[in-house]
Symmetry: C2
Subunit: 214 residues, 2 copies
């Protein structure tokens, strides 16, 4: 057993990138609850101890895959585009990148809460808002608020997908049939993408109003 562990634990066998990619595959195939260090090690045919050479703990692994998830956001408009269009594009791109991986919103929000990474979306949103003439502090606060909205929205979408796949969601058609019960399933009858855009447009409108007030 000890001999086998020594042979398998040699860190050079898998790069940090190999480990992160294997983690993303497990996340996307099975979801966050199944992404354990033990399972990850098994998928790479090494002992768990070999992983700690690359990632000292699970939090730093989650931070790495959060960074990879949000780096899929390719929606940025040029710096000279209208600021409000840039904000909309950044928010939509962040949503798309979170949706691209199962439980993406949950992984990224836990990394945000830990203060460990996945800062690119926040920096890009801040920069887009600043280009509208807002001071850096206001731009940052507004970007943080918008990220909370995006994570809340996409987390809801991904939970619904998960429940749908398990067949446990209350029937949408039936709850939408009577006015009194529409509230049972938050949504407006529009697509999630349209509801999302509407929410972002309220944020942008609030910023525009702030600009006018000054």
């Amino acid at each position: 057993m000890a001999v086998r562990e020594t042979a398998n634990s040699r860190p050079a066998r898998h790069s940090r990138d190999d480990v992160a990619q294997a983690a993303l595959r497990i996340l996307d195939d099975f979801g966050l609850p199944d992404l354990t260090m033990r399972r990850l090690a098994a998928s790479l045919d090494v002992q768990p101890s070999a992983l700690y050479w690359h990632f000292p703990n699970k939090q730093t692994l989650l931070a790495e895959i959060s960074d990879r998830i949000v780096s899929h956001n390719r929606a940025a408009l040029r710096d000279d585009a209208e600021w409000s269009d840039r904000v909309r594009a950044e928010a939509a791109g962040l949503r798309d990148s979170l949706l691209a991986f199962r439980d993406g919103a949950e992984v990224v929000s836990s990394t945000f809460a830990l203060g460990l990474g996945a800062t690119a979306p926040l920096d890009r949103l801040t920069s887009a808002i600043e280009s509208g003439g807002f001071d850096p502090e206001t731009a940052r606060r507004a970007a943080v608020a918008l990220v909370h909205f995006v994570l809340g929205h996409v987390s809801h979408e991904q939970q619904r997908m998960q429940y749908d796949s398990l067949g446990v969601v209350a029937d949408h058609a039936s709850v939408a049939a009577t006015g009194a019960e529409v509230g049972a399933a938050p949504g407006s009858g529009e697509s999630p993408a349209e509801d999302f855009q509407f929410g972002v447009s309220l944020f942008v409108g609030g910023l525009e109003r702030l600009a006018v007030a000054h």
Copy 2:
């Protein structure tokens, strides 16, 4: 064993209310991951089968405790108050009620995603927005967006509290020391309550701008 189970499973021994209250206590003391039907049954000194007489599955139990969590929102202003003040009060009250129970945001957001309940905040926000002269559909969509923001924000706050208590959060002072790293910990240096109010004010401003545009 069978004899004991029969004796303990008699549903009349605990009311539905007893079961829900015991579940809220476990949630608040130990967090959502520890709220299992097995543990709940043990805390009431009954077999798990006795719980299913009141709640056919864990989802309906979570829906019941979600309803209880959000019913703590006592912040409502009178119907004749300014609509924007009502929206702010409802949002702040919802935040307070979620913060009153450990993992409150996570419990309520999972119930929302299931479409099973906790609709009171959505209905009250919709009504507050409608009182500003918005059509019911717009009011509903805006309320849904605002609920996503509230859940995203409070979920972040509660994750941070959890991590803080475990001592695993990246040091705030050190990440705030350099501009480039501020993004590592979303926040603005203001209190969570102030950041929250700022986010809500952007929503309200967006609605005001929408009203002006019409």
